[in-house]
């Protein structure tokens, strides 16, 4: 079937893998995952494209696998973006209601949001998301929808995520080069959190950490809205690199050792244990101390958590995370990572599963697909909104709804 409006595809161009997830919108607007395609990624470092040709080749193979599995043709994708250049911050917009009867109209709401977005970004940066947090009407806190209320002074808190425009464009151009349309770009951390968190957890307050291959994204929700986002260009690749350096083995071997013997906390049983490395013929090459392997890995992962904990502490958000910490991304498969994170954050840590969506259970259980699944979810929310409101709203209003979607769902 051509151009099925119910088909939504999410594309994540990651550092270790390129992943395409296809979802089908049910009659009730709930997406169901029907296909997944992935391939090794060779042209990406730290979440950013460094070799477009290679990426294009890998992307085509991932796409074909996904199309075959879902038995659909993918025309457009929601594209996940990441990289150390992406930053998030909170901003407040103010608007004075001028109408005679002091009733806040939809236009006033759009104006205050526009004011909140009018921020001093560096010249070559552009906004990826501007997420509404809360409205204030004459200083009254916690208003979620002020339209129709009476008031004089309308304020809104927004969380703005922005990135370097050229680097974002690189990914978009590349995808367009494969005859795919890009519906929208989505920050990977936002996508992961959509897949992992339920509405209750967003309301309670939660931290989602997506530790991938090249980058670690983290998103903090509290009172149902995004409070904080960030990217650290440190993740699984760094673990492999540390191991290669510390154990004096080639990078490919370090990668393999990480997967087979790695752990995020040093296992007491690993003390004085050695791992023998063999070549392809089964001959022993040299042996490696298992404790060292785990210690190097543990230090790196601990550092990532510490940096995030430090940043949240600075932002004063640590006490709002009542639902705990959710881990996803490929590196969150490391044994013992939950214990390590619990130790650093001193709170409940849950290995994240894409529970907020239905479909292939095999895919939903895998933490590394959280971003791509989240992209589908994002797309579905977007489409649902469009179907509901599209008949009588212009496109600007739709964009304005976007933040609301994130907040409510």
């Amino acid at each position: 079937m051509f151009d099925d409006p119910n088909i939504i595809a999410g594309l994540e161009i990651g550092t270790s893998k390129i992943c395409v997830v296809v979802g089908e919108l049910g009659p009730d607007g709930v997406p169901n995952i029907i296909g997944i395609g992935q391939s090794r990624s060779r042209g990406v470092r730290k979440g950013e494209i460094v070799n477009p040709e290679q990426v294009e080749e890998d992307l085509r193979s991932a796409l074909s696998v996904a199309e075959e599995m879902a038995n659909v043709e993918i025309r457009s994708v929601y594209l996940g973006v990441s990289g150390g250049h992406i930053r998030g911050f909170n901003n407040r917009g103010v608007h004075t209601v001028v109408s005679a009867d002091r009733e806040i109209t939809e236009d006033d709401v759009q104006d205050v949001i526009k004011n909140a977005k009018a921020i001093n970004l560096p010249a070559d940066n552009s906004v990826i998301h501007a997420v509404r947090q809360h409205f204030f009407v004459d200083g009254q806190d916690g208003v979620t929808n002020p339209a129709g209320m009476l008031g004089q002074r309308l304020e809104v808190d927004m969380h703005v995520i922005h990135g370097h425009v050229n680097r974002l464009q690189n990914a978009i151009r590349l995808v367009r080069g494969t005859q795919l349309e890009v519906d929208e770009i989505v920050f990977n951390g936002v996508a992961s959190s959509l897949a992992v968190l339920t509405g209750d957890q967003k309301e309670l307050g939660a931290l989602v950490i997506d530790i991938g291959g090249g980058t670690t994204e983290f998103v903090v929700y509290s009172d149902g809205a995004i409070r904080h986002t960030g990217v650290l260009a440190v993740a699984g690749d760094h673990v492999s690199n540390d191991l290669a350096y510390g154990l004096k083995v080639p990078l490919s071997r370090a990668e393999k050792l990480k997967l087979e013997h790695g752990a995020a906390v040093v296992d007491p049983a690993a003390k004085n244990q050695t791992i023998t490395i063999t070549n392809e013929l089964g001959l022993a090459l040299n042996s490696i101390n298992a404790e060292h392997l785990q210690r190097i890995m543990s230090l790196r992962l601990e550092e990532v958590f510490l940096l995030i904990a430090e940043e949240l502490e600075r932002a004063g958000l640590t006490d709002y995370l009542r639902a705990g910490v959710f881990l996803c991304g490929g590196s969150s498969r490391a044994p013992g990572i939950v214990a390590l994170a619990e130790n650093v954050f001193q709170m409940n840590v849950v290995p994240g599963k894409a529970t907020a969506i239905s479909g292939l259970t095999a895919a939903l259980d895998q933490p590394e697909f959280a971003t791509a699944i989240g992209l589908v979810k994002y797309g579905s929310l977007k489409k649902r909104q469009r179907v509901k409101r599209g008949a009588f709203m212009n496109t600007d209003a739709i964009k304005g709804m976007l933040s609301k979607i994130l907040q409510r769902s």
Partner: protein, 405 residues
């Protein structure tokens, strides 16, 4: 007082005169030593140190130390200060014994080459260990002599500052402002050499010549000892009835003082006046008053001396020094008991603020210590992930200093 301690030394020129040894290091040092070997410096003993046998032969001096090994074959060091430094370290005991018995050691050298840059700092250390107060008089190369010499000179100056009590530095490039454009190369070097000689003479006069206002050797020690400073100096001469005013004007506008800036920023100033018998107290007063006004924060030491040969002329030598912010502790000096210096008077003295440094255009580059080069593996060529000045691409266990055995 100090005469009791010093009187026993045979070589002293006058009872209050400390034993002085003047060393010329390297080719430039040897040549300048020749210029110093005049009756005026009769009380001092001279020594020459070089790696080049031929140049050493030509230099005057009672003590000649030829630093040599098979590698050099008597041909000099080829402008390599590291080689000379190694050589000097090898002969450390020889240098130390050559300095034995001296209370003050002057080191005269031209920085930038091999011997001058390499040996001077080692000699300074040896002399300090032998118990002497070490003052180095050095010149820095002209800019046209090239980058390498400039860098070597800069490095040597730092080392010398750490090793010697005081370094008096003459940037040759500044001399250009003082000489005529048509001056020949030979004359230029003679002029720069002359300046250095004047510097030595200025200090020498302070401590050797009985004057109207005597500077005791103890004062100099109190000011300089263990201070590791560097200073700029200027030397002016004036004649005629308004000579004192003229001299002050010349000092304040002197290019070696960066048009007087060095004086304003200085922490200690040494003034040595010399004139004929007609020197009046009013003249001394006028000069000192002006200098004091310029450097309000500085500790000023002055001396005035009479030279019968100076008729109608007034000669003023000024050393301006700034406290050295990065004074490193040098080798500890064995207690000679000769001149106990109260700790309170041990002040840092001589660094020239703007006087020495040339404007160097620097690019903003992230500095990296040569010790900590860690291969970043696959992240070598990607943009570094910096977090509060820490490069997160470097393995964590290395940054945390974890030892794997």
């Amino acid at each position: 007082m100090e005469t009791e301690n010093l009187g026993s030394i045979a070589e002293t020129f006058s009872p209050s005169m400390p034993a002085v040894k003047i060393f010329g290091v390297g080719n430039a040092g040897g040549v300048l030593l020749g210029a110093l070997a005049t009756p005026e410096f009769a009380g001092a003993s001279f020594g020459a140190i070089n790696t080049d046998a031929a140049a050493l032969e030509a230099a005057p001096g009672t003590v000649k130390i030829h630093l040599e090994n098979k590698l050099l074959r008597g041909l000099g060091s080829g402008g390599d200060p590291d080689r000379c430094r190694a050589l000097a370290e090898e002969q450390f005991s020889t240098l130390k014994s050559a300095c034995a018995g001296a209370e003050v050691v002057f080191i005269i050298a031209g920085l930038g080459g091999g011997a001058g840059s390499g040996i001077s700092s080692v000699l300074a250390r040896a002399a300090r260990e032998a118990g002497a107060l070490v003052l180095a008089f050095v010149s820095q190369p002209f800019e046209c002599e090239g980058n390498r010499r400039e860098q070597q000179a800069q490095g040597a100056l730092e080392q010398l500052k750490a090793a010697a009590d005081g370094v008096i530095c003459l940037p040759n490039q500044r001399i250009f402002k003082l000489i005529d454009e048509n001056t020949s190369v030979l004359d230029t070097f003679r002029v720069t050499g002359g300046f250095l000689v004047e510097g030595v003479r200025g200090v020498w006069q302070l401590i050797s010549r009985p004057g109207l206002i005597q500077v005791h050797f103890a004062d100099l020690c109190a000011l300089l000892r263990d201070s590791h400073t560097e200073s700029a100096f200027a030397f002016v001469e004036a004649a005629g009835p308004s000579r004192s005013r003229e001299a002050v004007e010349k000092i304040l506008a002197h290019p070696l003082f960066d048009d007087g800036r060095a004086l304003v920023e200085s922490d200690a100033v040494l003034v040595s006046l010399k004139a004929g018998r007609d020197l009046t107290m009013a003249e001394v007063n006028r000069v000192m008053e002006q200098i004091q006004r310029q450097c309000a924060h500085a500790k000023i030491i002055m001396g005035a001396a009479i030279d019968p040969e100076f008729k109608n002329r007034l000669c003023v030598t000024v050393f301006a020094s700034k406290e050295n912010e990065v004074a490193k502790p040098g080798p500890t000096r064995p207690e000679t008991g000769a001149l106990p210096i109260p700790a309170s008077t041990r002040r840092s003295v001589m660094t020239d603020p703007g006087g020495r440094k040339r404007p160097v255009i620097k690019k903003a580059v992230q500095g990296q210590l040569p010790l900590t080069i860690v291969a970043k593996g696959r992240f070598d060529k990607s943009e570094p992930t910096l977090h509060r000045g820490e490069d997160l691409d470097v393995p964590t266990f290395i940054r945390r200093g974890l030892a794997l055995n």
